[in-house]
Symmetry: C2
Subunit: 218 residues, 2 copies
């Protein structure tokens, strides 16, 4: 019982409707947040009855899971594409910001406060590892040839706790740079997207640029 390569018309149709459901789900999330996601509301928006969606998603959780996976996949693809074009750390940082501002709710669904009661699917760890690999490669490339002044306490700690870096052979300094890259840029982006900078009168892009400069040592 081998799955046929070319999708049948019905399979094509199913995939098409699934995509449309997800499209409306994102729109709904954009206006009311992830916790307000409602299958019935999506169905109504599509001109379908509520139960019809159960042909395409087993339940609400499976839909959310699909959205989260798509979001991770999208970021991983964007990162890989940039890296393939020879982008350095600063290039990845620019891509991350572009990706985040392009669809704030997508960023927040993945990196924001977890949806209460929802357990993240395990198969996203593969995709996050893919993202981390691209980041680690860029960090390793950014390391100077000579080891630098002296390894800080964080480098020492990470040298002994590098399970998350998988099979990467990046030096400890690259590991700490990757973590710092991630948390610093997330710090700016999440405060910005959550609206904590609004009304303060300065441009968050400047803060982001300053963090990128500090990370790439220029």
């Amino acid at each position: 019982m081998v799955k046929s390569q070319a999708p049948t018309p019905r399979e094509r149709y199913r995939a098409q409707v699934r995509e449309e459901v997800k499209k409306h789900a994102w729109e709904q999330i954009a206006t009311a947040g992830a916790s307000a996601l409602s299958l019935n509301a999506i169905a109504k928006q599509m001109g379908l009855s509520g139960p019809a969606l159960y042909r395409y998603f087993a339940n609400r959780d499976e839909l959310i899971t699909a959205l989260i996976r798509d979001a991770y996949r999208s970021l991983a693809d964007a990162f890989r594409a940039r890296a393939a074009d020879g982008a350095d750390l600063a290039g990845l940082a620019a891509e991350l910001r572009r990706w985040a501002l392009e669809d704030p709710q997508r960023y927040l669904l993945v990196y924001g406060t977890p949806v209460p009661g929802y357990e993240a699917p395990t198969d996203t760890t593969e995709i996050t590892a893919e993202i981390m690999t691209v980041l680690l490669d860029a960090c390793a490339a950014a390391e100077p040839a000579e080891p630098g002044p002296s390894a800080g306490p964080l480098d020492v700690h990470l040298a002994a706790h590098r399970a998350w870096a998988r099979e990467s052979d990046a030096p400890p300094a690259a590991l700490s740079r990757a973590l710092t890259f991630w948390s610093r840029l997330h710090g700016v982006l999440s405060l910005e997207l959550a609206g904590h900078f609004t009304g303060m009168g300065f441009d968050p892009a400047r803060l982001y640029a300053a963090e990128v400069a500090a990370l790439t040592g220029s």
Copy 2:
């Protein structure tokens, strides 16, 4: 019609019940998240009927508002107390982490993804300004006597966009240090509290310590 100084027994009782409602609200938020906050559920937990709570809070939004204000108030008090004890930037950083880990949901309610459809009360801006003032003072104290090498682009930008610093006379370098302090520490804390570091195998406290060291220039 001047309000009496000493609260009447009834006023005391009202304040007491209000506190108890908020206590149960926090417990509920801790287990199911802020968007799942339910007046009826709180009432049931307190052995009251649902409508009884409307004696104490006009509606659900007013309860959430009270929780947010209490959270900000709590952080502001903690910061001021530490600063009064002569704490420097590193001391404030330690206090922030302690405060965040003491009650993760409280941190996330204030600094996490905004509750969809909920408009934050304006009177919290006074309290956030108070927090910022303590932070700015500590940053100004951390600046070296001589101006330092050269002002970065962020300092230049902030020198012209310092409305958020109110009447503070902190130099631009202190302003950028304050913003960086906030967003870097928030980056680590929010990823940690959202569970993005779990399973990675390293200790988030080390990353936090490294960021504090980088911020205080040691």
